[in-house]
Symmetry: C2
Subunit: 337 residues, 2 copies
DNA sequence: GTGAAAGCGCTAACAA
DNA sequence: TTGTTAGCGCTTTCAC
């Protein structure tokens, strides 16, 4: 911690602490030469104004928080990269928290932020539970919140995400066009927004093509990779789908491994497409068809919106959603036989 | 921001602010009933003590920073996950910064931390430049620093990394044992520690097996993917290596793409092994042989050491290095013909 | 253009 | 066990 204070600096320079203080704020009028002298001395002594004293006076932390459910895939690392980039360009600092998709963790993290630690929060919902009152705490403290990728329906705020309904519809339609009759949908979690919206797109494509939805082909998964893998195996063996649409990358990866273990070939016996931000899908065996969200852009967009809110708060009476275009990349995993 | 203060709470309860303050600290003796009453009221009013006032008094931020050069691969996301986990278990918050492998960015970030914002710093060096005096600023402010994965030689501190020399030696030896005679080494950057150490391991394996080092087979790369790709193409075409040892994943990925474009088969014409934390190397075509660092463990280890330093500072007079064991996973990309 | 002084919200000696 | 009080280091009116 910085031992030297503004008073020390003032003394060594024969000035008052208010003058020294002014040298570090842009606004106040001060003799340019004095300012220069002060800044030079500060540099020499390695002094910079104590953050906590400034924040206590100014009631501003110049810090935002990112809360994400997991760190498993490239989507979140790209999104964080975008957020951090914008934040730093605005002179803001970025705190990072991982909830492990656990709403209790989410609540405890959120509670630790309401004491002025942050000026705003970017969050991708953990997806669990029905009680999201912890977020109300932020609202009460006038801390703006922006959701990205995953949200809660029961909460009015800004939400930045991909055009998941349409991408899902097109992904599913692509499987149909390539000959699939029994397409299974692997849900990340029925309670998270992305689970539902992506399922709606899936169902729309089915009904558009006169295919009835078979609930046995919809697999709701959990937070445990082993459990999911067994469930996928059961699905493949019992329901014999000829196409899989996975709402997240890790479920598609599990599917590839299980299919291989069970001697099913992709795409001959089973076609596969999923949401993923992986940048080496072309090198997989088979190359993987994906819906690729603009993760980096999404992070930047969400951050920019947060800073807009910080500059000029807007009261939201219902959820305001911004959709960013995802790209569909069709490769061998979904290829027609 | 929190409008309500400790004084407001005290007034509504007919107590003094010191009593209220005590209710939020664990140590001080206070009537359990009073404490309960205070905490209940605080909960009701959504009050929590202002962080900046506490920090200003206590000269402690309960915040650490992670500074990383890039966010491109799984290594860093896993390491961050480990760090954040430990930090939160200690009641600490974690700031994240990305330097984009640029030492100027690194310096400006570091400077913004020396004002008491953080109690400690975890850093993976950007790798550029010869002047690392910005880090001295942290030392002057008694902010402990722990390096992980990438360090600077000219700086005394704790450094947590993998047993890169030995892993590199074994990886290279593995290529030799599988018949390679002309093994190229792709360096991330000659100036970063990992570039050098991994090269030393490579050279050791060569000399152990009576193979002379051919400097034309050592390719120093830059921060630009396109430039690197062209350089790799040139290397493959002109030097005709029969094995590649890549010090980082992205160089191996570029190699796979270039090889494919030039009609070279892996592993028949060219064997490949690299450092990588990717968890789907088995699904690549061909499955990729890797040196896998314990990224999550490394993050936890580095964080734990930082907290040890925070609890009881130790003056380091030279670099203290902790090596964590990496695992070698041999798959098809390096298989004998 | 510069200085004096009050106070941001909290903590911790000290007193009661 | 609780209250009083003096700051933590800085910003910002208000004088000069």
């Amino acid at each position: 911690m910085s031992q030297i204070t503004i008073v020390d600096l003032a003394e060594t320079l024969g000035l008052s602490k208010s003058t020294v203080s002014r040298a570090f704020r842009d606004s106040s009028d001060i003799n340019p030469k004095t300012k220069e002298r002060i800044l030079a001395k500060a540099e020499e002594l390695g002094f910079s104004p104590n953050l906590y004293a400034s924040s206590l006076k100014g009631n501003k932390s110049y810090t935002i928080a990112i809360i994400i459910p997991e760190f498993g895939n490239k989507f979140f690392s790209q999104a964080i990269k975008g957020i951090e980039l914008i934040a730093r360009s605005k002179g803001y600092h970025t705190l990072i928290y991982v909830t492990d998709s656990n709403v209790q963790n989410e609540a405890s993290i959120v509670r630790s932020l309401a004491n002025g630690r942050v000026d705003g929060v970017l969050i991708s919902a953990s997806g669990e539970g029905r009680d999201h009152s912890h977020l109300q705490l932020l609202v009460d403290h006038h801390i703006p919140i922006v959701f990205f990728d995953r949200t809660y329906d029961d909460f009015n705020s800004h939400f930045v995400t991909g055009n998941d309904f349409e991408s899902s519809r097109r992904a599913t339609e692509h499987l149909i066009e390539n000959g699939c009759k029994r397409i299974a949908y692997l849900v990340i979690n029925q309670n998270v927004s992305i689970g539902k919206v992506r399922m709606d797109g899936y169902k729309k494509a089915l009904s558009d093509h006169g295919i009835a939805t078979d609930e046995r082909l919809v697999l709701d998964t959990e937070n445990d990779a082993d459990v999911n893998r067994d469930a996928i195996r059961k699905l493949l063996l019992e329901q014999k789908p000829d196409g899989i649409f996975a709402s997240v990358e890790r479920l598609a990866i599990s599917t590839m491994r299980v299919a291989s273990e069970e001697g099913m070939r992709i795409p001959e016996d089973l076609k596969l497409i999923c949401f993923s931000c992986l940048d080496i899908t072309d090198l997989l065996q088979p190359s993987l068809s994906v819906v690729k969200q603009p993760a980096f852009e999404m992070g930047k967009h969400a951050a920019n919106f947060l800073f807009q809110q910080l500059a000029k708060p807007i009261e939201l009476t219902n959820q305001l959603t911004t959709l960013l275009e995802s790209s569909l990349i069709f490769q061998n995993s979904s290829k027609k036989n």
